[in-house]
Symmetry: C2
Subunit: 883 residues, 2 copies
């Protein structure tokens, strides 16, 4: 029977599409016999009808009434009955967790009559009136958009936490006034109307601004809708034998087994999540309420066994009785993710494929983040809760808008965060709050995003209006740099030097087995990824040192060796000479002849370090003026000299050259293969250096495998011209091995004509950075500061297309090129050497698009290896993210 | 029976693919009973076998021998028979005319014995030895690549033209020496070997450098191959009753009916083509050889009737007997093309559809070229032959390489041109030669390319080595500017002011019917084009004046009104104020408020001029810093002031703003829709101005049809955001008409995601300039000078992709966008407003791709109208050029 309402007794965890994650898990816990308050779930179908038509399905409220009667029967209380009032919570709960993003209304069922009844049966008038106060505020805010501040003012003025029942009765009267003033109507006294309006408000909250921003950030589709869970209220604020808490079956920070969490005595759940009062560790419950603790621990074991994963739990104890209010597979730090996945394998609960599915390249990247150098770390300014690991250094900003607009790295500093701070948290490199624990909004969201976060730093006096942060007499201002360590909770003034991660050191030095459980787990899962992966992982390396490092990190070759980096430093005068030569053939040839032995030595070193593995060398790519000083700088220098009557000397010569080479849009100018075709002898010199280096390697008994890559090709005839010249040069070098010639695909036209280009190319390598710049029509250097913040806000991007490949736009060009290139040359080797090659989310796309390898910076090789393995075990189509 | 050789008696003009144009037409003339020397054609099939395998088909030479016996029989002479020697010409002849691009060998059959026989039977020893001399030189050059100069030196040293038979006998001996020295073998005495080697040399000449360059320029496929025509020699150099000439059935310059051409008494055909001696007009033949003239005139009438078009003819008179050596449909000036097409309609030979096929937008463009202003024209320096009409002004260059490398307009000045000059002629704006007539190489090639050309200017002393051009005592040097008039043949020192064409004046002023036959013919064919065309032709217009002109030129709307042009001039301080406002909301709003009434007035004027027709207004597109002075200029000014201790004043303020807005690649920066989304209120102000202007027009009784176009969209969400804002603004303006909102498609990604973007767009307009820049990854401003010359040389381009749409690359993006946009919104209106919209070759592509309209500058509207009609009557797939 199609129905919009399912009792917790009916569902199970596989029905999350329909019941949302929270509803499905409540049903699952009910099925397992755990103590869940009676209740039911309104399906996401009902929400979708509402979002589409603007009205709930006609049969919905009838079904809700039917199920309410069931809850009343099981609780032996009735909605609106002053003698035995039933109170309800109404909570959102979508398919994917969106912590704090949508709305909740608690204490539904209270009105002027039932509040008296509640006071009587609970024997606690203060509790009853405080609950009624909470209902009016939450209902007013959620259903009628009354600003929370309007209520907070009255509450604070009255004395807040320490009010007695009579005072709270006054607050309720004032709240009802506020409600009437803002809505033009009285606070609804009919409990069924309260339920009805709250359900619709939860539906609407799916499309709130903050929920939409969060979904974009987390790639959650906009059309899922939310389910609504209606549950009998239980109270953690009924005195010292009551309380509420959040618990994890393993430590979400380290993966350590055992119960872990926060408990807040005599409080409601929202007090914990909002972080407005500080919690005690879960262990404290063992002394406070031993029986409840034991029952909770047993329930947690049952859940972990059942879910075969770390679970997090919300619970409430009402007068010594434990109630399970929520569970789900818990978020965790990257360290914990690896450790837990390995442990679960050891425990026989999952196999290695499943373990690999449960970790991600993004998590591994996080472990490879640098941390502060302990030797150079000053006295901390203060210490807070280590809420999301990693080290971050940035300028202080006190509001989310400033963070989103900043062009320099910033640390968002807030008393506490709320969902409105999301854009700022996305933009900041780290988050620091003065209040709240590890389960506060700031902590949960920052961990999800991998942003370092320190919260609950109570020693800090944070004053956003004054733009100051004060700690123990030290005053810092907006724009001052601070450093925060999300792994230790420490906060430092100024810029603290950073050191590489232990894992990185382990991998980079290839030190063998490690006792560190995190490193051991990573090693184990990386080894499994290597076993199953189809994609090879090359590294981008321009020096023998980088190549050697890449090899230790198990790169399968060098996918991009940039020759322009060999023209810098002390060799700059040589390239200046080449540029100043202009049309003077003899001078140009002399400059090239001087560069040849240097390039040959460069290549020989890299080929030796990568002996037996392919080394793809890109011929010179950047415009020549990049090797000269900037035009405005030279103009000013020469103008100054002229004004003062002094001789501008070489500056005048350089200025003339820079003017001659000046381009309005150097990205779209004389660079890449164009340079090779226009500057006689340049590419020939580089090809000769490669061939000679390879010949020397072979004579020394090595197995050099150089490949030559031509940049910025847009037409097959460009490539053919370079190839003719290169083949002639190579043929003249005695003892040179066979050298494959291929091309970058980084100009959109090259992707569109890949079939033809493949006739002249043995391999393709996508330059996804240029392809993104030209395909979107914006250059990374120019636009990130100028409008990316605004575009994230508008949802044009969910992440920068320079970070994660834009699958539908740029990705379509890649798929066209792979398909048509291979059709024309079935043994075409296809890779990617743009920065996306090391981006976890992009690696999966490249696997799916059929590439042979990715190439990335050496430090990202392990991340790409992990994702290359995951792409296989996930076995999913590109774009469908595992969440 | 499949065969590689066809006698002239067997073929006809429809077999041009197999026999080449020349061979097919020789067969056709033979079939018509005209006096063609006996001969046969070796097919292009045979050439293709040779080009592919490096050897002629085995049966070829046997077939050639068979046919030679037929020729011998018909001529009653035999190859190598000293008593009755048969001489042959061996000439190339492909499917498409490639004048002078491939090789020819004449006088084959002469050797040490037959030369004596020829002397005896002709009674003219001088003629016989001169022919032998010619054979050795031509054969040596063509078959063995011996430089012509090697022979010329000897010939000049001996006294050249005035040599008697004995002296020529000495020259022959010296030539044989040269031949031996260069080839290591004796000049072949066996006539059959001469034939064999000459045929293979013609095959090879298909792939000569100059032939390949020409084919790229003319878009002739490389795999066609050439046919070879072997024909009995007839001689125009047998005395005063002999001669050779070129004739046209109508004047190829004006279209005037009647025989027209050049005649050169006592000469061989190559003397005319090379322009080494000056010709007499064809009319002179009437007195010199009345019978021949009459026969020629009758033949020409027959040919024109038969071909229903202007024919050109090569003929030779040998001792009073007329021989027809070649005919083809003749090249003509653009004026003549229109006049002839209209005349042939009047004569009932063709219909209007066919007439439209016979003219082109490129020819019409030529007629709309400006000419020199007669009032301001100085005394000419000299006068030559008016060989290709139009006016050109440029710097003198004396060699082809310099012309190809030039970045400024140049005039290529040569004593005479040869096929090696082709790259220089492509690059130059005009061509000037000292020798040769209207049928010289320079004239034929320049007319084909539409380059103004003056040739045979005998008063000029052209000295390329000295880099000087001297006339009547005036000495001009390399780099000096001259002006040439290809319509009158006049040459002027310096820069002569230019006036618009009479046709342009007629069309632009819409003056009604004209007596001028060219203008009348254009009017008639344009009217027919308008009747049959499916593509509409809009104009790009930024002012009411341009819009009114476009309307007179029969534009069907304004396809692009650029609002940035309204921010210049005296309004610049307002936009500077907007920029300097930065984040100061009040100041920015004040600046926008000041711009609003000005923009409203701009739009009102254009809407009034285009009343009843669509006016597509593009919201602000260029980066804001384009409205400020250049960074290097400001840097230098401020540095100078600082060095001198003076106050830089406003410059310092502007410098700060320019630095803030500075972009490495402004083309890929903060512009277009990005600007609209980042600068609050900017687009809203423009939309409001449009809506208010339209409302005012309607109140005044008009029918304004504004459309709003958003530039640089890459993602549907950008467009959706602008649309939401625009619709809200329009809704607030009382009396505004419905205003369609659409988008430019100019970012490659937009083309790839057009299906989605069409959901938010009522129309698309391709910005092919940006699409080309981003698709190819080069900016027009930066690269044209830097490497386009080199790319034309390499054949990467045949024409600049900014001039004619790159159909396979950028065109593919266009086809994707049209198809997927229409799939998503079937009534989507699709146009193009990039500069390609007025390019004749591109219009056909846009028609074929299914666009609704093109938009181009007002002056190109008639060209686009003509091509829009031709696209229908040609009924061809895009890309297959009519030649």
């Amino acid at each position: 029977m199609s129905t919009y309402v399912h009792d917790f007794l009916d569902g199970n965890r596989d029905a999350a599409d329909l019941l949302g994650g929270k509803g499905a898990n409540l049903a699952e816990m009910t099925r397992l016999g755990l103590p869940v308050p009676p209740g039911f779930t309104i399906t996401t179908d009902a929400c979708r009808v509402y979002l589409k038509t603007g009205a709930a399905p006609v049969e919905l409220m009838r079904e809700v009434e039917d199920h309410l009667r069931g809850v009343e029967a099981r609780m032996d209380r009735r909605l609106g009955d002053p003698g035995h009032p039933l109170l309800l919570s109404v909570r959102s709960g979508g398919r994917f967790s969106m912590p704090g993003m949508m709305d909740t209304v608690l204490d539904i069922g209270l009105n002027d009559r039932t509040v008296e009844g509640l006071a009587t049966i609970s024997g606690d008038a203060r509790f009853a009136w405080d609950s009624y106060r909470r209902l009016i505020q939450m209902f007013g805010h959620t259903v009628f958009d009354i600003p929370g501040a309007a209520f907070d003012e009255v509450f604070t003025a009255a004395g807040a936490e320490d009010l007695d029942a009579d005072a709270l009765r006054g607050v309720v009267a004032a709240y009802k006034e506020i409600f009437h003033r803002h809505t033009g109507r009285e606070f609804p006294q009919a409990p069924h109307e309260q339920v009805h309006l709250a359900v619709l408000a939860v539906f609407r909250s799916w499309n709130s601004e903050r929920a939409r921003v969060y979904r974009r950030q987390e790639h959650i589709p906009d059309d899922l809708g939310t389910a609504v869970n209606v549950m009998a209220m239980v109270f953690g604020n009924r005195g010292p034998d009551s309380g509420t808490g959040v618990a994890f079956t393993r430590d979400p920070a380290t993966g350590r087994r055992g119960a872990y969490g926060d408990y807040l005595p005599n409080a409601q759940g929202e007090d914990v999540v909002a972080g407005v009062r500080n919690t005690v560790p879960l262990e404290a419950l063992k002394d406070l309420q031993p029986a409840c603790y034991e029952q909770l621990a047993a329930n947690m074991d049952a859940l972990e066994e059942h879910y075969r994963d770390l679970c997090d739990i919300e619970f409430t104890i009402e007068r010594g009785r434990l109630w399970m209010l929520q569970t789900r597979v818990g978020k965790r730090t990257p360290e914990a993710a690896f450790v837990i996945a390995a442990q679960l394998c050891d425990e026989g609960l999952i196999d290695l494929d499943e373990a690999l599915r449960r970790v991600s390249g993004a998590q591994l990247a996080h472990l490879m983040f640098p941390a502060f150098d302990p030797a150079a770390t000053p006295e901390p300014l203060a210490t807070g809760v280590a809420a999301s690991p990693g080290a971050a250094v940035g300028a202080i900003v006190f509001d989310s808008a400033a963070a989103a607009a900043a062009t320099e790295p910033v640390i968002l500093v807030r008393r506490e965060t709320n969902p409105d701070d999301l854009p700022g948290m996305i933009a900041a490199v780290g988050v620091l709050t003065g209040r709240g624990g590890k389960t506060s909004h700031a902590a949960v969201v920052a961990r999800g995003m991998g942003r370092p976060c320190v919260c609950g730093a109570e020693d800090l006096d944070i004053d956003p209006d004054a733009g100051t942060l004060t700690a123990h007499g030290t005053v810092l201002h907006t724009g001052d740099v601070i450093s925060i360590d999300g792994t230790t909770g420490e906060i430092y003034p100024g810029r603290v030097p950073v050191r590489p991660s232990a894992l990185m050191r382990h991998l980079g030095e290839a030190t063998g087995e490690s006792d560190d459980p995190v490193i051991a787990a990573v090693d184990r899962l990386l080894a499994h990824a290597d076993r199953v992966a189809r994609l090879g992982v090359h590294a981008n390396a321009d020096t023998p040192e980088d190549a050697a490092l890449a090899r230790r990190l198990r790169a399968t070759g060098v996918g991009l060796c940039r020759t322009e980096h060999m023209f810098l430093g002390e060799r700059r005068p040589l390239i200046e000479r080449l540029i100043l030569a202009g049309d003077d053939d003899a001078e140009r040839e002399a400059a090239l002849a001087a560069l040849l032995p240097l390039q040959r030595a460069d290549f020989a070193g890299i080929l030796a370090a990568m002996d037996g593995l392919p080394v793809t060398i890109r011929l010179l790519d950047p415009p020549l003026h990049e090797f000269l000083p900037a035009l405005d700088e030279l103009s000013a220098r020469v103008a100054r000299a002229e004004a003062l009557g002094t001789d501008p000397g070489r500056d005048a010569l350089l200025l003339a050259a820079v003017r001659r080479l000046h381009e309005q849009n150097p990205m779209l100018g004389l660079r890449g293969v164009r340079l090779g075709l226009v500057v006689p002898g340049l590419y020939a010199m580089q090809v000769e250096a490669i061939a000679r280096a390879a010949a020397a390697c072979r004579r020394a008994g090595g197995d050099p495998r150089p490949e030559i890559m031509v940049p910025l090709v847009g037409d097959v005839r460009e490539l053919a011209a370079v190839r003719r010249e290169a083949e002639a040069v190579i043929a003249r070098v005695e003892g040179a091995p066979a050298i494959l010639l291929g091309t970058m695909i980084e100009v959109p036209r090259a992707a569109l004509l890949a079939g033809e280009i493949a006739e002249q190319a043995r391999f393709f390598s996508f330059g996804t950075n240029d392809l993104t710049q030209m395909g979107w029509g914006f250059s990374r250097d120019d636009v990130e500061g100028a409008f990316f913040g605004r575009y994230l806000e508008l949802g044009v991007f969910t992440t920068s297309p320079f970070e994660t490949i834009d699958e539908r736009g740029i990705g379509r060009l890649i798929r066209i090129a792979v398909d048509e290139g291979r059709r024309s040359r079935p043994d075409l080797v296809v890779g990617v050497c743009g920065e996306h090659g090391g981006d976890p989310a992009s690696v999966r796309f490249f696997h799916d698009a059929g590439l042979d390898h990715v190439s990335c910076s050496p430090y990202r090789v392990p991340i790409a290896r992990l994702e290359a393995g995951r792409a296989v075990v996930l076995g999913v189509a590109a774009g469908s993210d595992s969440r």
